[in-house]
């Protein structure tokens, strides 16, 4: 097995609002190995984006703050690293792409200016080489007319092309880890297929580890090797993608998979998870999923289960009883 490059240990991130401390991420653990694609999946408000911003040190602060745990990059805890250290890591070692390709590029600078910036910051290349490197990057992400594109502005590009540019920017310094936060959510399905294909190709070719954050189980199933399922700020299940989809052991994971309409066959009625995601901090004790769970037991209301298991971990009393 390859080496662990990034490890998140007991990470707790809270937002401090007028209503007090709201825990957005509440003690999560996972690790990323060199060159793998890890999926983090969950619905809105589960804390998956906060996790990625915590890793990058880009939490909007105030109100956001890491209140506990560690983020180990190559063994170094960067959860409270100095800004100057983080600047060296960002873009160079850990890069990120975002959900909205429309707003993530600066509208008043050319593609070339934005693409060469990270390279300029982290490797001091002469101007000539900068330009050829930029062109090379655009070709790598499958964009035609690379030379002309460098002089164009973001609004002249389509959504799919912009997301390719974002990927080119992220890959410009050969990062060890690429965090992709809902990279295809804003795109049409045929464009999504193109982008996922590109990301898988880059992963194979450059051996950059990818953390793919998404709400779309289909995307996870098609692209990732390992999956972390998050619910209300906690990891509820983690394991190999086949284990998760074929034998989901947490009722939430199971419910999610069952409530998606099937493209290949028509079901009479969809399975539903009743109710909706609780507001962060609104459930004080017991399992956070208990109010929506079909298998809820008495102790679920009072005791919070731990995440247990070896390669396939789950946070549910159902399976801990059996074990």
């Amino acid at each position: 097995m390859s080496e662990t490059i990034l490890e998140v240990k007991g990470l707790k991130t809270s937002f401090f609002t007028d209503d007090g401390e709201v825990p957005a991420v509440d003690g999560i653990n996972f690790s990323v190995n060199e060159g793998e694609i890890l999926g983090i999946v969950g619905e809105s408000g589960c804390g998956k984006s906060v996790t990625s911003l915590s890793i990058m040190g880009l939490l909007p602060s105030p109100p956001g703050k890491i209140v506990g745990g560690q983020i180990l990059y190559k063994g170094e805890d960067i959860s409270h690293a100095k800004e100057s250290r983080m600047r060296k890591l960002r873009g160079n070692d850990i890069a990120m792409i975002f959900q909205e390709p429309m707003t993530s590029l600066n509208p008043v600078f050319t593609i070339g200016e934005q693409l060469t910036e990270a390279i300029r910051l982290h490797n001091h290349l002469p101007k000539k080489e900068l330009e050829s490197r930029a062109e090379e990057l655009l070709k790598m992400v499958g964009l035609p007319r690379a030379r002309e594109l460098l002089k164009e502005y973001p609004h002249e590009l389509s959504g799919g092309m912009r997301q390719r540019v974002m990927i080119a920017i992220a890959m410009s310094c050969d990062p060890k880890v690429l965090i992709a936060d809902e990279p295809t959510t804003a795109l049409d399905v045929t464009i999504q297929a193109q982008i996922l294909d590109l990301m898988a190709k880059l992963n194979r070719e450059t051996h950059t580890a990818i953390i793919l954050i998404t709400h779309d189980l289909g995307v996870v199933a098609q692209v990732c090797k390992r999956v972390v399922v998050m619910y209300a700020g906690k990891v509820v299940e983690e394991g190999d993608v086949r284990d998760i989809f074929n034998h989901p052991s947490h009722p939430y994971t199971e419910g999610l998979i069952r409530s998606i309409p099937d493209l290949y066959s028509k079901k009479e009625k969809l399975y539903t998870i009743k109710g909706s995601v609780p507001k962060p901090g609104s459930i004080k004790q017991g399992c956070l999923f208990a109010p929506r769970c079909d298998y809820v037991m008495d102790k679920c209301w009072t005791n919070a289960p731990e995440l247990v298991g070896d390669s396939h971990k789950s946070r549910c009393f159902l399976h801990q009883e059996q074990a």
Binding site: D188, H215, S259, Y264
Partner: protein, 322 residues
């Protein structure tokens, strides 16, 4: 077979783009470019396509929220583009709409009760007391409670707001409901709740739906028949079983293969289309899809394909089947 509830023929919407000092029309955006279909009572017609394909514009033209440039729309045999105002009012009562964004489609300064009551006031249904009772009845019907009537939309979650939107659409007992991306803003677990609700209501009141969406799995789940749109045109339309199990048009095939399946063992061979959807201001000559089509032939760049009926009754617009 009886007369269809809705019959749309050769519907078009062109937007002129003005430029220059004197505002001359420099180009035309063909948002919808000759769309025809029928919808029978009690069925659900799904319309799928990617953003900018004209599916929402089509829906809004049927509501006459957008005036068509050309074509005819017949509802219960009447051409609603050429009827008197009072007749149109009746049609507006029979055709209602559900919107995509559950946050933007409810007036933030109105109570939920008054939102649901408003269509009844506009159409002069019932007195105050009857309307209030109906509001409570509707709230219960969509899975909310009567006491919710006094609250404001911002006090509800996205899924609940979509239920409010559905209650508003049902208030005047319509026959046809046009649902424009009704679940695309919702989380998966909430999405299935709303889809089930829509199906339950359809059975209960014998409703007819036009279900516009970009999510192919959702459309399959809810629709009896499905039309696939590309650049303002319907490229294929048929009953959903045969369309999904055996797509004919190359675009339909590519679209279906692009959907990520939530099953790691089913990694189907993807057809990855190159490039982007062309601008509707400059659609390619001939078949609009030919420049991205993996099986394009010479004729495709020259002649526009016409809609043809296949042996099993499905309609496809592609030169492959000439």
């Amino acid at each position: 077979m009886s007369e269809p509830l809705l019959k749309v023929e050769n519907l078009k919407k062109y937007y002129p783009i003005k430029g220059g000092i004197f505002g001359k029309v420099s180009e035309t955006v063909r948002a919808v470019d000759g769309v025809s279909f029928t919808v029978n009572e009690g069925e659900t017609l799904g319309i799928v396509g990617e953003s900018g394909c004209g599916k929402s514009t089509t829906g809004r033209m049927i509501m006459r929220l957008i005036e068509p440039t050309e074509g005819s729309i017949q509802f219960e045999g009447k051409d609603i583009l050429n009827i008197s105002k009072s007749e149109m009012r009746k049609v507006r009562k029979d055709v209602q709409m559900i919107f995509q964004d559950p946050y933007a489609s409810l007036n933030p300064r109105q109570t939920v009760g008054s939102i649901i009551e408003e269509p009844m006031i506009v159409h002069g249904l019932g007195d105050r007391k009857e309307r209030r009772e109906r509001v409570e009845e509707l709230l219960e019907l969509v899975g909310l409670s009567a006491y919710h009537a006094k609250r404001y939309p911002h006090q509800f979650s996205g899924g609940q707001r979509q239920r409010i939107g559905i209650a508003r659409a049902l208030a005047v007992r319509p026959k046809l409901i046009i649902a424009d991306e009704p679940v695309s803003a919702l989380d998966v677990s909430v999405q299935s709740q709303v889809l089930n609700l829509l199906q339950d209501l359809q059975k209960k009141f014998n409703l007819t739906y036009i279900f516009i969406a970009h999510d192919l799995s959702v459309v399959r789940h809810i629709s009896n028949r499905v039309g696939v749109m590309y650049l303002g045109k319907i490229v294929e339309i048929s009953d959903s079983e045969s369309l999904y199990d055996n797509p004919k048009h190359p675009y339909t095939k590519a679209l279906l293969s692009a959907v990520p399946i939530p099953d790691p063992d089913k990694t189907a061979d993807r057809i990855i289309l190159s490039g982007d959807v062309p601008s509707p201001a400059h659609p390619p000559a001939g078949c609009a899809f030919h420049d991205r089509c993996p099986v394009a032939m010479d004729i495709c760049s020259k002649e526009k394909p016409v809609m043809k009926e296949m042996e099993d009754g499905r309609l496809v617009s592609c030169h492959l089947y000439d």
